[in-house]
Symmetry: C2
Subunit: 312 residues, 2 copies
């Protein structure tokens, strides 16, 4: 065991399990990082077994980095207090699946990755976030209550996200091709991309395309907008309207009124300038990320247990 | 051979190959039906082998009904002149795949099923159609020229079709659920359907859903609109706007100006009342279906060959 560990046998595990990767960070209760591990996807709604396996793999990596042994974990050895933000954890029964996969942990609290992102952005305090990547989702926390807006998947939800932006661009291209709209600079740029992507048919590029595939077109829409293409600018404006709608819905009722709001994700800096002033006024810079949020979940679990040990 | 055949050894084969089923009708050059066969899907873009196999299976059925033998077909025996409307035949090289699969036919002309629907609707003459089922597509024929609008697949195209209508309904339900829109009668009806469909999670019902699955919600939107739900009525109005846009784009340029227009498919009677007067004025009842269109393609191929035999 390392020097930092000698003071205590309790270790926190912060877990960020997303649709594409998992990160697990081990730290002491006073915040000293002991080690970190990474592995594959953890979406507990679509593949619970894979989600548990990804967390286990990331744990083993982190233990090696922290110079700890897997069999140290347990009631008599190292007490691990874990907080996890996992994609799909809002589906009934899924948090319990993850809990049951790690019976040697002293505690394992699982929430959605939107929840831990929100907790991380506001340093464990009440607040709201809208995350904009391939998809989009809004989340607000006020004490024990939380509220989600959006993030229902593509194409039925995830408005304003990268896949949604790519879909609007493809629709424009198809409408230009068949005569419903006049051809634009954006049309030429997207068509060139669809043509070089190797499906052999630019018009068939989108058939059965995944959300990620549609999202690959977003950088082209952004660069066309920089070059003053009006259709591209309108698509980004419309995306920002969707984000503003998610934001205002998130904060419109008690107990979520007037919470500080952070806009997260790769598209945040792109869409921020397009947001209305009323939304911009509420925005604060995020204090931390989903892993920080997971760490504060883990810390809460540890404090609860400590209270039980020490009595009132 | 039957009585009808004794006058001639030339037989026409009309083929309607769609995304869900194939029908093949054998008839004499003067239009007497000899037999008909049915089989599975024929989409030559997504599965060329299956498309050829479905046509072969429908052919064998039709031959049995006509009391003919498969080995009668060939240069020395029965001369088969076929016209086929096959889904996906606009993709480069796919018509040739079907031609090559039937080397014993005297002729086999393949076009898309939108083309044969258009030909059938207008009795083999110039005209335009918009077909509205699960998807939507517009097609116009003027002499040797044809033009397509829409039909690029779901969710990027097929505007105003059943899947598109279902998608709007699901978006409304999700927005009602998360607070972006007030709850309506349509919300209650669609929610009840998503809840009883057995996925265990109405909010997850749409994740990865196919176009056909979204289209199953269309009858609910129609009945809610009958009962004066305003959101349901707006969805049908918006669908009709898309169909009107496809129609007017189809007919806006030479040589397609002022062509007669037919609205085909299961949703035609639903959306017709919502179309603008300018569109309604152009609408004529269809004279026949895609199989009739395929038969007129076959007849043209036969006449061309007869001219060659008989000289000028």
């Amino acid at each position: 065991m390392t020097a930092a560990l000698q003071k205590s046998t309790a270790v926190l595990a912060a877990i960020d399990g997303g649709a594409s990767k998992t990160i697990l960070r081990l730290l002491t209760p006073d915040g000293v990082v002991l080690g970190e591990g990474r592995s594959g996807p953890a979406n507990v709604a679509t593949d619970p077994d894979q989600a548990c396996a990804s967390i286990e793999a990331a744990l083993r990596d982190a233990l090696i980095a922290a110079q700890l042994q897997r069999h140290d974990i347990g009631r008599e050895g190292l007490r691990v207090y874990a907080g996890a933000g996992v994609a799909g954890a809002e589906v009934a029964g899924r948090a319990a699946v993850i809990r049951d996969a790690f019976p040697d942990f002293a505690a394992l609290v699982t929430r959605t990755d939107a929840y831990t992102s929100c907790l991380g952005a506001h340093g464990g305090k009440d607040g709201a976030v809208v995350a904009i990547g391939t998809g989009s989702v809004g989340y607000a926390i006020s004490g024990d209550q939380s509220h989600r807006v959006g993030g229902w998947g593509f194409p039925q939800g995830d408005e304003g996200g990268g896949a949604w932006i790519g879909l609007q661009a493809v629709r424009h291209v198809l409408h230009c091709h068949d005569g419903r709209e006049p051809k634009t600079d954006l049309f030429q740029r997207i068509w060139a991309k669809l043509d070089q992507d190797g499906t052999g048919d630019p018009l068939g590029w989108a058939i059965g395309a995944s959300a990620s595939r549609f999202a690959t077109l977003t950088p082209i829409v952004i660069s066309a907008s920089h070059d003053r293409d009006q259709v591209a600018s309108k698509i980004l404006h419309d995306a920002a309207k969707e984000i503003a709608n998610i934001s205002s819905t998130l904060l419109k009722n008690k107990p979520f009124l007037h919470l500080p709001l952070s806009i997260l994700g790769g598209l945040a800096p792109i869409l921020l300038p397009y947001l209305p002033e009323t939304t911009k006024k509420l925005i604060v810079a995020p204090k931390g990320d989903a892993l920080d949020g997971a760490a504060s979940l883990a810390r809460k679990a540890w404090m609860k247990q400590e209270e039980l040990f020490q009595g009132p």
